[in-house]
């Protein structure tokens, strides 16, 4: 199970990093999403992998560490919200400038006056 999870995290990270290096905003956002999936699984695995164990002492033979589950929940909510913000910004940038390239030229702001 450890090997499976480790390779899954590896593949997700690889996909995320590959997509992050694209030039358009949509693949970059997808890449960040994949990266956050990998990070969430990794955070979950930090509490060690156990099967058939409740996160409560006394309910089962062994117990699962409840803290990483709480941390992962927080991390999922935050990364979901952040992805939504970036999506809005990307759509706004696309509509305002007419293209969705990530790189920007050295253009000064227009509302200096």
């Amino acid at each position: 199970m450890e090997a499976l999870l480790a390779s899954l995290i590896g593949v997700l990270t690889f996909t995320g990093v590959y997509l992050l290096l694209r030039q358009r905003t949509f693949p970059v956002i997808l890449g960040l999403t994949f990266l956050s999936y990998a990070v969430n699984l990794f955070l979950f695995a930090a509490g060690r992998l156990v099967v058939n164990a409740a996160p409560i002492i006394g309910r089962s033979q062994t117990y699962a560490d409840p803290l990483p589950q709480a941390l992962v929940l927080t991390a999922i909510v935050i990364s979901f919200g952040m992805t939504a913000v970036m999506m809005i910004l990307a759509v706004g940038g696309h509509l305002a400038s007419g293209h969705d390239r990530v790189n920007t030229g050295d253009e000064p702001t227009e509302d200096a006056g």
Partner: protein
């Protein structure tokens, strides 16, 4: 003993921001009133906390009365109180300037976002829990995304996408580092980590070293350390001037977190990491300083000039931090206090100039600007402060750093002095283009009287720099006690009362 007041800098802006959105959304006048009142109250609380931390020493606030390593703690010590006081003083100047310059009329929800930003930054300074630090980072970041695109515009929105993307990668790295730390030690309370890490089993040393490097990478992204500084010039140059001034304290969060983690969690005498952090930070900060200085020399617009000035000041601050000895910490903290005020001042002055000019570019002259005598003098003061020339506090700060690095004089002194020279050149070149090289047009300058609130804010920041210069002796003495407490963090650890009922 401050009791519940320790959490006030987090709770107060949160409540005020919520009330503004629910009750005051129709009236900008009432929002301004509430915003100023909240920040004045925050200043009062910050001074009280500073006083309490000086008199009573470190004190922990256990949220929900959960005992320390299990529940989240906020810890008030001299360092966190100082940073909160710096934040609230800067926020007062920024909010006054915002009202004077009417930046808050150019888009919705400026004041609630500013309050949420204050909440996140104050929380990041006060928290004693590494995962809670991540959460407060996200709170301040999401508010900063909103402020960054305030008043809209294509260039601003597209730079914001880069800024958000860069910070999301930083958050992912932060979470990986926290997962490694938790996986190895089973705790994320920073005081508990300080107790547990010296007894780390041999097999886990490699993992904790990876975690330490990743944490430092995250803080280097926040602090705009080369090679992770690429987000800063575009972001700061394209953000509204007032927002860029407020962001002057956000890079310092990276410096604060590095100092806290580098003295408490991974101190230089920890066998697992040793001088790992120093060996990484030292060359990076030297290059940052050089990049910032060259950027000041080559900047094409005034806001970019200010942004590269900010990068150079972060290079100097991280250079002083990287040694993690009490003497260098005093120099670093004094320089951080100075650099925050000076960077904010430079951004506010650059906003004063760009709002009166047809464009912000430095290579094409425009018609002379109205009130150029006063504004040119303000620019001169800001440039002196940023370049670290006498008589302002930047000079004392750089002197303290030079003195602290006596044993590495050839390299460190050369980089600091040559970069200061380059910055003086850059500021002088920009200033002479802005104020002395009017275009041929005979048209009289457009009438644009200086706004009272803007002048109050800029002169307030100058007064802060002057006070820092005049009281350099008492301030450095106070900082020396702080640095000793960071070097021997037993007081901080005892304040957490690990494993005991709070």
């Amino acid at each position: 003993m401050m009791g519940h007041w320790i959490i006030a800098p987090v709770v107060l802006p949160a409540i005020v921001a919520g009330l503004m959105i629910i009750l005051l959304r129709g009236s900008l006048r009432l929002q301004r009133l509430a915003s100023v009142a909240s920040i004045v109250a925050l200043n009062g609380i910050a001074i009280a906390l500073l006083w309490a931390a000086t008199i009573h020493g470190p004190e922990a606030y256990h949220l929900g009365n959960w005992p320390a390593p299990f529940g989240i703690v906020l810890v008030l010590d001299r360092l966190s109180a100082l940073m909160v006081a710096l934040l609230s003083a800067l926020a007062l100047a920024v909010v006054l300037y915002t009202i004077g310059s009417r930046w808050d009329q150019k888009g919705a929800h400026f004041h609630p976002l500013l309050q949420f930003l204050l909440m996140g930054i104050a929380g990041a300074f006060l928290t004693g829990d590494a995962f809670n630090l991540f959460v407060f980072f996200e709170v301040l970041l999401i508010a900063s995304y909103g402020l960054m695109v305030h008043a809209g515009g294509a260039a601003r929105t597209r730079v914001a996408v880069q800024y958000v993307g860069f910070n999301l990668i930083g958050s992912a790295l932060f979470l990986i580092a926290l997962a490694l730390v938790y996986g190895v030690t089973g705790t994320l309370n920073m005081a508990d980590l300080a107790v547990k890490l010296p007894d780390l089993p041999e097999g886990d040393v490699a993992l904790i070293r990876v975690a330490a490097v990743m944490l430092i990478l995250v803080f280097a992204i926040k602090g705009a350390l080369v090679p992770l500084q690429f987000w800063l010039p575009g972001t700061y140059a394209n953000a509204p001037g007032v927002v860029a001034a407020m962001f002057a304290v956000m890079t310092k969060i990276g410096a604060y977190a590095t100092l806290r983690v580098g003295t408490l969690v991974f101190p230089p005498d920890l066998p697992a990491t040793g001088d790992l952090l120093s060996t990484l930070l030292f060359p990076a900060s030297l290059v940052t300083l050089a990049v910032g200085a060259i950027g000041v020399l080559g900047a094409t617009t005034l806001p970019r000039l200010a942004a590269f000035g900010g990068i150079a000041s972060m290079g100097t601050a991280f250079l002083a931090l990287s040694a993690f000895t009490p003497q260098t910490t005093v120099a670093a903290l004094y320089y951080i206090l100075h650099a925050t005020l000076a960077t904010a001042l430079l951004f506010l002055v650059s906003d004063l100039v760009t709002r009166r000019r047809a464009h912000a570019r430095l290579d094409q002259a425009t018609a002379p600007i109205a009130g150029s005598g006063l504004i040119a003098s303000l620019y001169l003061v800001a440039a002196i402060a940023m370049a670290g020339m006498p008589p302002l506090s930047g000079f004392i700060g750089k002197l303290l750093i030079l003195d602290a690095f006596r044993d590495q004089a050839p390299l460190v002194w050369t980089v600091i002095l040559v970069s200061s020279f380059l910055m003086i050149l850059g500021f002088a070149r920009a200033g002479s283009t802005l104020f002395w090289k009017p275009a041929d047009s005979e048209a009289p300058p457009a009438d644009h009287p200086p706004e009272a609130f803007c002048m109050t804010a800029t002169f307030g920041l100058i007064a802060g720099l002057a006070l820092l210069t005049i009281f350099a002796g008492p301030v450095t003495d106070w900082l020396a006690t702080l640095a000793d407490a960071l070097d021997q963090p037993t007081g901080y650890i005892e304040a957490n009362r690990l494993g005991q009922e709070p």
